[in-house]
């Protein structure tokens, strides 16, 4: 331990050099995905050369429509799906060559509610802990079950539980071996408010204790609420990875809606320079602008309106949500790639 520590200290004081940068990279990212592709036996290519790094301790939301390849990507990292090409390391351990070390760091809550039927909650969670090579620790299992409001159900057979309760059991199983990385595949699909609240509390506590969390969802609010970074996957390709705040800022378009006193038939030619559109049968004038731009053009627009004597009763601004951004990205995609194609 000591010599390693000493080396690490020396490294920190070394002048900036390539090896140090490499070291820092491996210190900050817990999962590294390189050139990962998956073609299913049917010939369908579900993942197309994915490159992605997950940072240690972050909550990463993988957003994408149904069939984008989210579950496949998680499946490969967790050892359920064989990759066709590429490599994945978890905390430096290759998922194929060093699968024991890699997998013992990971907890997985699968998308489907696949549980044993006849086992009790306590037995199935204890089983998971054993399977992942950890010695018994009833106190820890008790804590998980209590955190997930499962404690009074611990002796019930799983088949007697509701869907939401089964989801909790799956989360408890995934946490049973104290993983460093937790995958939640569509954790809130068809889940009640109560469970959502409990679950996000558990996720926040986990993050506070240093656990890295990767969740997939197609509910944008979830990503917006929880994530530090967001990756968007579409048709097997990662099309964007960004800090959530950055993403909102970068792509966040703002709209200024003016409720006119007199409706207009068309946007007057004098205002053509502004990015305007009519709405509500000409009763509203909608101005779309970029909050990041040096000049938003709001002042110019307002003075132009005053000059043309276009009056308005009220005004309101709205900022596009992640949802708008997301839909924009995913639907723009085919057009964009069609443009590039020869």
């Amino acid at each position: 331990m000591e010599p390693g520590l000493a080396r690490a200290r020396t490294a920190a004081y070394m002048p900036v050099a390539a090896p140090l940068l490499l070291r820092e990279k491996s210190m900050t990212s817990i999962i590294s995905i390189n050139g990962l592709s998956k073609t299913y036996a049917s010939g369908f290519q579900a993942l197309k050369s994915i490159n992605l790094d997950i940072k240690r301790g972050e909550i990463f939301a993988l957003l994408g429509p149904n069939g984008a390849g989210k579950t496949t990507l998680i499946g490969v990292i967790c050892g359920i799906v064989n990759p066709t090409a590429g490599t994945v390391t978890v905390d430096g351990h290759d998922i194929a060559g060093d699968y024991r070390a890699a997998r013992s760091l990971i907890g997985l809550v699968p998308q489907e509610l696949t549980t044993d039927a006849f086992e009790t909650v306590w037995a199935t969670v204890s089983f998971s802990r054993g399977l992942f090579g950890k010695p018994k620790n009833p106190a820890y299992i008790e804590k998980i079950l209590k955190d997930l409001s499962l404690w009074d159900k611990k002796d019930n057979k799983i088949m007697t539980l509701s869907g939401g309760m089964k989801r909790r059991v799956l989360i408890a199983k995934a946490l049973s071996h104290e993983p460093q990385v937790l995958f939640l595949d569509e954790p809130t699909a068809g889940v009640d408010v109560e469970l959502r609240k409990d679950m996000w509390q558990v996720v926040r506590d986990l993050r506070a204790s240093g656990v890295t969390i990767i969740l997939t969802t197609h509910y944008i609010e979830e990503a917006e609420d929880m994530a530090d970074r967001i990756g968007v996957i579409s048709k097997g390709e990662i099309i964007l990875v960004e800090n959530k705040a950055e993403l909102m800022r970068k792509l966040g378009k703002k709209q200024l809606t003016l409720h006119l006193q007199k409706p207009l038939d068309a946007v007057p030619a004098e205002l053509a320079a502004h990015n305007l559109a009519l709405a509500d049968d000409g009763n509203e004038l909608v101005f779309t602008y970029d909050t990041n731009a040096e000049r938003t053009g709001v002042t110019a627009l307002l003075s132009d309106l005053a000059r043309l004597n276009i009056r308005f009763r009220d005004l309101q601004t709205t900022q596009s949500s992640l949802e708008d951004i997301f839909i924009g990205l995913v639907t723009d995609r085919p057009a964009a790639s069609a443009g590039v194609a020869p």
Binding site: I80, R100, A101, S104, A123, G133
Partner: protein, 258 residues
Amino acid sequence: MNTHAINTHAILAIYKFEMSRTLRTIWQSIVSPVISTSLYFVVFGAAIGSRITEIEGVAYGAFIVPGLIMLMLLTQSTMNASFGIYFPRFTGTIYELLSAPVSSFEIACGYVGAAATKSIILGLIILATSWLFVPLHIAHPFWMLTFLVLTAITFSLFGFIIGIWADGFEQLQIIPLLIITPLTFLGGTFYSTHVLPPFWQTVTLFNPVVYLISGFRWSFFEIADVSPLVSLGMTLVFLCVCLVTIWWIFKTGYRLKK
């Protein structure tokens, strides 16, 4: 966790999981094979045994005991182990096994160990039941147990492979029904292959079950269709074939991974 050590916690977890499944279904698991064996006894031992008094100096009732135990051992080992691994594939809970830091060896140890344990217990119960019907003398208890354990393990491995190969519950049933049971009946459960014409005796040598029954019977009565050493050798060969197949299945992910 030491990444090179065997994950004994995992083996034990799977083993206990499977054994508790057995306990839940104790009636199907233990009682029904005992009843059906007793029926065989009544029909073959008492009805036919009253005409065929003895084979190679052994009372017919006693002669069929090792064959009956083998019949149950083979079908039960295959069925238990195949069901044990097929069920998680069917329900989808296999995801957890695949994502766990366990090797193929450890998974097989857990499932096969539990299936074999159950078969061995069952074999001993049937042996005890037989004692109620006929006086038995076991010439070589050590070899009797060795054959019992080796056969239970081998056919549990075989069942494990079937459970991975099978695509539906019908296929799970088909192998014990269409392969194991006929081979066991034709393999000398109820007769010595010496009573067959020479041509059929030769054909019989292609039936692997003949070696198992012969060796097992030898450990009781010191009479055998083939040398006990050949029986032991053949049993070990089947064991190795199954082990290599399982190693290959997990290496390639055959029928397990997508």
